[in-house]
Amino acid sequence: MGRYILRRLITLAASLLLASLVIFALIEVTPGDPASFMLGLNAAPETVAALRDQLGLNDPLPLRYLHWVAGMVQGDFGLSYTYKVPVADLVADRLKISLPLALIALALSSALALPAGVWAASRRGRAGDALVMGATQLGIAVPNFWFAMLLVLVFAIKWRLFPAGGFPGWSDPLAALRALTLPAIALALPQAAILARVLRSALIETLGQDYIRTARAKGLSRRAALTRHALRNALIPVLTILGMQFSFLLAGAIIIENVFYIPGLGRLIFQAITQRDLIVVESVVMILVFAVIAVTFLTDLAYALVDPRLRRHA
């Protein structure tokens, strides 16, 4: 187990290093001078030059890379060009909205998908299965931002149950949750469709395994064989998808946050890109990549908890 974790940790560190290089390079080739952006079109060239100096934009490339990485390790992500505040504070503010949104959406999608997937697999080939599969096909095909528009049309404009957009802040938790409800549903439904399909096919695959037949020969009913033997074995692909979905929900909410005018991480990065606030883009992308890699690491650990073969071998 210790070796397994060590190996994963080494992979994690190497991936982060590589990712930081790629992101840095990507931002470097991006045209547009942040200093001119910050000062506007009418700025005097001397002022721009002075700002460039101040931002460290004239340093040699490797030095700037090291500077950036060293800063991040200490939690210092630099200063936003447009907002003139530390990027770390900006990100922390936005995460207070995006993280709960992602978690609610994930919980919602799991709560829908897991029972639906098990139910469909246990009724394979029958009407219930066909119903769930049809619904998930539709769920995958619906673009989430369009679904969000429909939700707004019905629940916010027609029935006035939820706000159509904006975020009131966490001072009134109830109002905040109400503001996040429609975005969470819009994010969760397509994810739930994918998750249910993955679980169903993983379950059907494990239900065809020899050890299920062995369990049935021992006298377990079909249901008992499914819950006691198949479910745990089918969990590994489901964990993978859950990990990927969490990362997606964290960053992939960009468009949904745009629909609902929610000041989350996605909107921050979108605005930063359009305003060429590259230091924000660079740092937020790095944070997102870190989140993905960390979640992958956690899923790998979860595999090892589920699967004894990984625990003792690798």
């Binding site: 070796r3 050890y211 062995t214 021992k218 009913s221 074995n233 003792r312 071998h313």
Partner: protein
């Protein structure tokens, strides 16, 4: 009174009849051998008794178990019966256990499901049962997971699960087919012992008549969903009543006629020197002792995973200082259990992998990944799996012509493919078909045609008949013998099946843990083994007592 009785059991899946009026009886404590070729309905009979038939199966007739009609029971009643009154074990021990659950819990589960027993108590009994099947306490704790056990040990766990509640009937479906011969002998001993001492009737389903001969009180022979003959084991072997039984018996001990090897094959022209440049060098530089293939001190090692981070990689010597020769036209056998290094050695002989030490010479050429194409043409190969041996998207003529890549495609390649197909007993028109249109035996014939097409001097037969039913196997062995005589071929016959090796080779190598532990003339080696491992293999190999077969020597023609 009979414990289990099948009365005119008929089984349909869709419109296809799988079983047709199967009638069978099983007495208390009796061992019944149910034999037949693949597709004869043996396993379906067992699954019908267990009530585990695939969806869409319909049954007619009755199955009586201790006075109950099994087919009339509800699913809930069947669950109460399975594992309690009837236990079953299956062929593939590597996949038969849940990989995520300890063996203790898996055995205990049988008890907990049926007896509503608390887990601690169930595990106590599980401990006893695992002891009973030979997985004793300190070495095999209940906390082991299946991946920590070998195939034979896993099959023992499966047996412990099946007998945990001392069912009256145990069904074993090819329980040892996936196991090595020594492990097979141990598991069969265990099953026999359980049946005798626990008063448990056993239905042993197998394709292997020799296994039945050593185990069963009575034998039932199945063909195409019907029982063609039942009888006491010895009586049935000595005097089979049904011609099909006689054919099976003849085929399973079949020894191909060793045709007198002609020095010149009339009517067959070998490749001329222009077409095969290797031929000229062959004559000039052939091995001084006349050997066709000479393996000298061959070593092939594999790097294993590091035991600790930064520790050096330990090495596994899969082939360890192996030396032998094959003479032109000779049949050399190579036997050994799985993991002994046979496959690694085969790959090296085929020139696919390099050696770390030693050499393999084929006539004048060193064998290895860099050997010249023309030299490769002297060795070809036939593999075990008739299904994985062919690209399903190519026509048979393309498949058979593939080795021409080594010599250049001759203008008359289609004629040669047609001739090769005829030689292996197929029709020239078969070249236009795809591989899925052929049966397993026909596919092995096509594989032989592919090996033969460029007139090699040596064909490696890598378990080439192991996947075939006995009667088809006998036919393919006859074909190989005839081709050897007409083409002056040498064979390297690799097999785990000792009886086949004994019947078709003149000299034999025994391999264990990467080394050749014994080699010599086949008959001498089999009658008076010199190495303890050879003796152990021979003792473990199931065999039909020769006395049972004497009465009918050469009696039944092979069909």
């Amino acid at each position: 009174m009979s414990l289990l009785t099948l009365e005119a059991l008929t089984l349909m899946i869709g419109a296809a009849p799988i079983l047709r009026g199967v009638t069978l009886g099983l007495g208390p404590g009796e061992i019944l051998g149910l034999v037949g070729e693949s597709g004869s309905g043996k396993s379906m009979t067992a699954l019908a008794v267990m009530g585990l038939l695939p969806q869409g199966a319909r049954t007619l007739g009755r199955i009586w178990l201790e006075g109950q009609d099994v087919l009339a029971l509800t699913e809930r009643q069947m669950c109460a019966l399975r594992g309690n009154q009837i236990g079953m074990i299956f062929q593939e021990p590597m996949t038969a256990l849940n990989p995520l659950m300890t063996i203790g819990d898996q055995v205990a589960e049988t008890l907990m499901v049926h007896r509503k027993m608390p887990r601690a108590e169930a595990r106590q009994i599980a401990r006893d049962k695992l002891d009973r099947v030979g997985l004793t306490a300190p070495r095999f704790p209940l906390s082991l997971y299946p991946h920590e056990l070998s195939g034979g040990q896993r099959q023992r766990v499966a047996i412990a699960m099946a007998i945990a509640l001392q069912p009256r009937v145990l069904i074993a479906d090819e329980p040892t087919t996936a196991l090595d011969v020594t492990t097979q002998a141990e598991v069969l001993d265990l099953l026999r012992d359980l049946a005798r001492t626990e008063d448990m009737a056993l239905i042993l389903i197998t394709h292997d008549l020799a296994v039945v001969a050593g185990m069963a009180d009575r034998v039932a022979v199945m063909r195409r969903g019907e029982i063609v003959e039942t009888g006491l084991t010895e009586t049935l072997f000595r005097a089979p009543q049904h011609p099909y039984t006689a054919q099976l018996l003849a085929a399973s001990t079949h020894r191909p006629e060793a045709a007198a090897r002609p020095t010149f094959a009339p009517g067959r022209e070998y490749l001329s020197q222009e077409e095969n440049p290797a031929a000229s060098s062959w004559q000039k530089y052939s091995d001084p002792d006349g050997a066709l293939l000479r393996v000298a001190g061959a070593v092939r090692t594999y790097r294993l995973a590091r035991p600790r981070p930064f520790a050096p990689h330990p090495a596994l010597r899969a082939v360890d200082d192996v030396s032998f020769t094959i003479a032109p036209g000779e049949s050399l056998g190579l036997v050994g259990e799985s993991g002994c290094g046979k496959s690694t050695l085969t790959r090296a002989i085929l020139g696919l992998d390099p050696l770390q030490e030693g050499t393999i010479r084929l006539g004048a050429h060193l064998v290895g990944p860099g050997m010249p194409q023309a030299a490769r043409a002297d060795v070809q190969v036939v593999f075990q799996d008739p299904y994985g041996s062919f690209n399903p998207r190519q026509r048979v003529e393309t498949l058979v012509a593939e080795p021409f890549h080594l010599t250049g495609l001759p203008a008359d390649w289609r004629d040669r493919v047609a001739a090769a197909l005829v030689e292996v007993g197929l029709a020239p028109e078969d070249g236009a078909k795809f591989i899925h249109e052929f049966s397993g035996g026909q596919r092995q014939r096509i594989a032989i045609a592919r090996a033969l097409i460029i007139r090699p001097k040596l064909i490696v037969l890598d378990e080439a008949v192991s996947a075939l039913d006995v009667r088809v196997r006998a036919q393919v062995l006859d074909l190989l013998a005839a081709l050897q005589a007409s083409h002056d071929l040498a064979y390297l016959f690799i097999s785990h099946d000792l009886s086949v090796v004994r019947n078709v080779t003149t000299r034999c190598l025994v391999m264990q843990a990467g080394r050749i532990v014994e080699q010599g003339p086949t008959e001498a080696l089999f009658t008076a083994p010199g190495h303890p491992y050879t003796a152990q293999l021979l003792a473990a190999a199931p065999q039909i007592p020769p006395a049972w077969m004497e009465d009918r020597a050469h009696a039944s023609p092979l069909v």
